[in-house]
Amino acid sequence: MKRTIACLVTLVMLVTMLAACGGTSTPQTQPNQGASTPEPSKSSEPVKLTFWANDGSPQWMEVWNSAVERYKAVNPNVTIETFGIPWDTAVTKFTTAAATGTLPDMAHLAATLTQVMMASDTLVDLSPLFEKYEGKNDINQGHLNFYYGMNPKVKGLWAAPMFGSTNQIWYRKDWFEKEGIEFPRTWDEFFEVSKSMTKDGHYGYSFRGGSGNWNLTLHFLMSYTNTSDWFADYEETGHTFFAKPETLEGLTKWISIAADGYAPPTCVSNGYTEMIAEFSSGNAAMAWHHLQSAPLILEKLTPDQLGYGPMPRNSEGVRFVSDEPQGIAVFNTISDENLEAAFDFIKFLWTPEEQLSIVTIAGGVPSNLKTDVEGNEYLKAALNALSEENVKASVLPFFLKDLQRFNEQIVTPDIQAMILKELKPEDALKRWDEEAIKMYEEYLSE
């Protein structure tokens, strides 16, 4: 009996010692994996957070640095170190940091980068924390659904949406009025206007043929062909929407703007900056981009010169609007204490005042529906365009793990080759269809 008691006592002591040893391990070294988000606990201990911005331009750093300053004023125990990364190298920097275990606690990520980081299993699912957030009903459901639908197999809130990168058409109101031309309401009108506004030393449309050309082209094709799902016909035909005849028709018309001289000749190498510069410097009558280009355009053009209108409707009368949100993502290397502080900072950024500050400097439709945008005409116009009838969200299949590779290594050079008339649209679409099928079948097999 004595022996049994002695054994039990020894066992209890051993368990206690092991538990004590476990208790001494630092929580900082425990990564938070995916959906198993730990319960945050509010603390007034000093906290230091690292925050990377995937666009380190002065405009964006002003957004984050000023927000951090205001947050620090009410939370003196929290220090947030911000670091801006040039947009062109953001994917490289973030993926390298993921591979080398040097990711920050959180980051501002655009939709494409969120997808890349989600695919590499580095993001914290914020949904458990969001469900407890008292203001959750004020957050744009469309923006939330974007993240929830990013990986249909593992639903999660992979970033906290801050604003939507809503697309619209910017145009030279003064030139249109002078020519007596109406703003294009359909894609067919858009092509006509691109041709008719190519005169007097300027071009109809500032085509983006350089880096990032895939974005507008793919969204255009989805809108023109009334396609929400690339793979809707896959089970029946074994092909994607790239194989549809109307996609070829749309792509041919789209490329023709650049290839046949209705866009500046430099357009084949124009990225975002050059595309907007061509428009705002008076070299093109129209440009298609999201609201984030507003600050750059408004710097150059006066209200008398600048007009903005919603995306054209397709032949079915449907308007497709890409309203991809940009948000704050938290990386799963964060400690429990820092997770609490990071989500608290996110809640601060969700306040209507901060939301207004973000979209005023950087553009975009605020994710908090309570944000007052009365004083901002182009934001109001974008919101109205979203709330009209027959409007569909244009969302790329972000659940495909190789989407970034497909966009940048296949679609981008193919668009340039088509503009230079070195590749036929039917050959490009055949390749895109084959590549998209490969990505989709990989997704289905996982």
Partner: protein, 301 residues
């Protein structure tokens, strides 16, 4: 006595190895290991963007390389870019060296001016020439418009041919000083009496240049063009900053293709295979070139 000698002999035998050990460690860590690692990665499916797909694939990357049209295009571009660039760099460099050799005044000033582009980094060179060749406000278009050669500005970086011209001009500008200084250094040891005796024998300038000067410079020409060809073959910064290989890969050289694959797209497996390809090409090229230099005799032969 013999023990002392044996110890001394041992020490003398070991000493050289100990002395080269630090250098060997540095070279091994910074050169040999990365080379071996590249060979290893070239047989892997390894992309940081897709860590879930990492696996050993044997020679698959090499077999894909053989079917890769972009690889073939980039290889062709690399050869033409290197040969054209080095050819013009050499011609202009030699011409400048001959001019500077005969200068009597301000020698230091001219030499410093000619050498200036060599001190400019590839990225800075790219910025300078990007501004010069800008389609809307570039000085090149402005000059051509004023001289009446063109009616509208040329979008230099937007068509394959003109983008290629931009890349070649920029690279030639940057490389001229290398040849100018190398040739000038070689010419400084040229015996003047050879000139004088050739002149007395009635040789003209062209004959002196081809029969005396070029054979004299042969060794320097072989060495400098070989080195320059290898460097130009591996050029990344200038082309990447100027055009990033575009439009439609028309200025894509193999090193830029490697950079885009391995650094931009994080595909180290295929990037490794491309790098091994470049390594082998350069190895074969260098061996052939050196052999050619040995067996060609002199230029007058």
């Amino acid at each position: 006595m013999s023990n002392v000698r044996t110890n001394k002999e041992k020490r003398e035998r070991i000493e050289p190895y100990l002395l080269i050990l630090p250098a060997f460690i540095v070279i091994g860590t910074l050169i040999l290991y990365p080379i071996l690692r590249t060979f290893y990665l070239s047989m892997m499916e390894y992309s940081i963007m897709r860590p879930d797909k990492t696996e050993y694939v044997g020679l698959l990357n090499y077999s894909n390389l053989m079917k890769d049209r972009t690889f073939v295009k980039s290889l062709r571009n690399t050869f033409t870019y290197s040969v054209i660039t080095v050819f013009f760099q050499f011609i202009f460099g030699l011409a400048l060296a001959l001019l500077m050799r005969n200068m009597r005044h301000f020698k230091g000033f001219y030499r410093a001016t000619v050498f200036a582009p060599w001190a400019v980094s590839g990225v800075l060179t790219a910025i300078i020439w990007t501004l010069m060749f800008n389609g809307s406000f570039g000085v090149v278009n402005d000059l051509l418009l004023r001289l009446g050669f063109i009616d509208t500005g040329i979008p230099w970086k937007s068509t394959p041919l003109t983008a290629y011209v931009v890349v070649i001009v920029s690279a030639v500008w940057r490389g001229i000083p290398y040849f100018a200084i190398s040739m000038l250094a070689a010419l400084s040891s040229f015996p003047e009496e050879l000139f004088e005796s050739a002149k007395i024998d009635g040789a003209g300038s062209i004959k002196i240049f081809f029969k005396i000067l070029l054979p004299f410079l042969k060794e320097t020409i072989i060495l400098t063009t070989l080195l320059r060809l290898i460097w130009t073959f591996c050029d990344v910064d200038l082309i990447y900053s100027l055009t990033a290989g575009g439009p439609n890969n028309s200025t894509l050289t193999l090193p830029v293709y490697i950079t885009k694959t391995a650094v931009d797209y994080m595909n180290f497996g295929y990037g490794g295979a491309l790098t091994v390809g470049l390594f082998i090409i350069l190895l074969v090229f260098s061996a052939l070139y050196m052999q050619l230099g040995k067996s060609s005799g002199d230029f007058s032969a």
